[in-house]
Symmetry: C2
Subunit: 393 residues, 2 copies
């Protein structure tokens, strides 16, 4: 009854979502405050106050027919210009509105980018661990995911990357700050990756793209910086989302950046705008676009996440679990004390702790804890974690 | 540089959009009030006042984390329940929230439905004339469009439909009220279509779906009624959009209805919700969903469109052009006085009239005029149309 392509997905439905639903059931049973749900990247931090004020102002300023109407498939010109200027100010780039395509969040943006540049049978290299949903995005366009290794600190294995590039490779999908590890790739690492791609492009006589998924770009701690990849490798498309920065994940608003330096940039930009239309997005939601224009410098409360990060990291390591301290995003990827991390997650549920198994990120033996929860949840979970740890002593 | 699948689209870019952009250039040159732009279905009627009030109320009532947060991929439960109840009240159905999946407008909904039920190589039958964008939606999933004929009043040729159903057919895509003709298919016609499909399903031992694209369901005139197809044919999926009814085309908000009576309904519903996620929509924009809940009975000003319809129809026919009077939607599909209607459109531009050639709807020899413009535009265009007519006397 359903399409062949959807059958494997339905047979093996998203583990994260299943966790989410199990969490809801547990909360109804035990009370919300007694369940420690670290399963989903749904920000507990509210949108910054600028968002509400922006909506009120927009309702006064804009004519309904413009505010809620069709615009060009790439988005409102004034919004794209505001985004470009903000990037230029913060990342030292020289973009204009033309380089920006407003999208339905990063999931929309990545799909539009892949539809634009990838043919069936071509390969997308992704460093492990990674958000497995990427597999479905690549599958939407009949591409193939090739997994590349990282070191114990979740930094790219550059030798493995080089080995995995071949005449079918089209895209290197990078996600830094990373979900699920919180790792950030330094400028030095990005320069090395760029070097490999430039060399391989020449060797293979074939364009290789970096597709950079950067929804966590501004969620960084300890003075870490996220390098602007486009400054080091011209064939880069960046996908950004306001889901985390403005706490608007349900609104589906973000953008793609396609620099002029990218090969045949003008054709790629026009094609991406059309791909946005025919994939069924048509355009990014119009009111949300106008909000972005007014809130281009606004930020969710990063200090709140940082406090959570420290509290959860201390709690987890004090309990004896191993974990690399995250540099960005709002996830912590801890080593499971037993090789079967699904078993570990199951045991954790006895203590009302919900975590996502690392196999949902192509990395068994680990668990992901999303700390975009309330600070109180982390404090309250201490006893539960201690009891869990005691089982593995 | 771009994907093979996007190449034919880019080689032959959307004529409607080209018109739209040419129109903008002409407006800058001659002044907005001197260009009679009938090219695009972008409503000139503002959203009903309930929409603005709903936004103000929602901002007071809902917590930011809920209002702008993730929800289940099918949409907020309370929103889907409100939609279901409204349908039950107006169409005599018995839906619950479970039957409704909130989507990014009808374009999003149709793509999600096709991703859910169609395999590569399968056929989608569509009556001419039709919105050619459907071709790209079907192509997204490697299906094939098969065109079926209509009579001079743009009503389905049932004999031709029957002949075109074969063992590759999966979907009959219906669009009533129709873009570009304004034709409505009567209950009698729908019953006959259902009869053919039921017979053919049995003969071929194969499920055949109706996919009903109904964004114009409430835009009907002269007391016409749009029958509820699901009441006559159980394997029907309806795609609805608030783009026209609430004048929110840029916001991308609508829904799919999948009735319990559809074969393996529960699997198809779950699959569609997941298809919504992995296609990159994730979920329909959250604030817009909440607006729908509060505005489920609100309507844009249909009387305004009706006045436009009458004025433009009278004007066109008084000038000697032939046209079937539209029963719904906000388009008028007039016969070109010469067989090459692109030539006719080009001549019209001399008088600052912008129309879309029928070949953009698989029906050369006609032109489409969208009358979702201001009433004043129609009145002001009278002299231009008279001069245009004089060229063809």
């Amino acid at each position: 009854m359903i399409s062949k392509k959807m059958q494997p997905l339905m047979a093996n439905n998203s583990a994260i979502r299943t966790m989410f639903e199990e969490g809801d059931i547990m909360k109804k049973k035990y009370g919300e405050e007694n369940v420690y749900d670290f399963s989903l990247g749904n920000p507990n931090v509210p949108a910054p106050p600028e968002v509400k004020q922006a909506i009120l102002d927009i309702l006064e300023e804009e004519r309904s027919q413009v505010l809620h109407g069709y615009m060009s498939n790439a988005g409102f010109e004034d919004v794209r210009e505001a985004v470009a200027l903000h990037m230029n100010k913060t990342q030292g780039t020289e973009f204009s509105a033309r380089n920006i395509i407003m999208t339905a969040g990063a999931a929309g943006g990545i799909n539009v980018a892949l539809k634009t540049i990838m043919d069936p049978g071509e390969e997308v290299i992704i460093f492990k661990p990674y958000f497995l949903e990427y597999n479905w995005y690549v599958n939407n366009f009949d591409g193939k995911v090739v997994q590349a290794e990282t070191d114990p600190c979740f930094q790219p294995d550059l030798k493995d990357l080089e080995n995995k590039i071949n005449k079918k490779t089209r895209v290197l999908l990078l996600n830094s700050p990373n979900n699920p590890t919180g790792a950030i790739y330094s400028e030095e690492t990005i320069k090395k990756i760029a070097g490999i791609l430039i060399k391989k492009q020449k060797e293979l006589g074939r364009t290789l793209f970096i597709l950079a998924d950067e929804p966590y770009r501004e969620l960084v701690y300890d003075g870490n910086e996220v390098p602007c990849i486009m400054n080091f490798y011209p064939n880069t498309i960046v996908s950004y989302s306001y889901s985390k920065t403005l706490s608007l994940p349900g609104e589906r608003i973000g953008y793609l950046v396609i620099p002029d330096e990218l090969e045949e940039s003008s054709l790629v930009i026009d094609t991406a705008a059309n791909a946005n239309r025919i994939a069924g997005f048509v355009n990014a939601p119009s009111l949300q676009q106008k909000i972005v224009k007014k809130c281009v410098s606004a930020r969710a409360d990063v200090a709140y996440y940082d406090r959570n990060r420290k509290a959860l990291y201390d709690l987890i390591t004090d309990c004896g679990f191993q974990c690399v301290k995250p540099q960005g995003a709002f996830y912590l990827f801890a080593k499971s004390p037993v090789s079967d991390e699904k078993e570990f997650c199951k045991t954790a549920k006895k203590y009302n702790i919900i975590m996502v198994p690392g196999s949902s990120f192509a990395s068994p033996g680990y668990v992901r804890l999303a700390y975009c929860v309330s600070y109180e949840t982390i404090l309250a979970s201490m006893d539960a974690f201690k009891k869990l740890a005691a089982e593995y002593k």
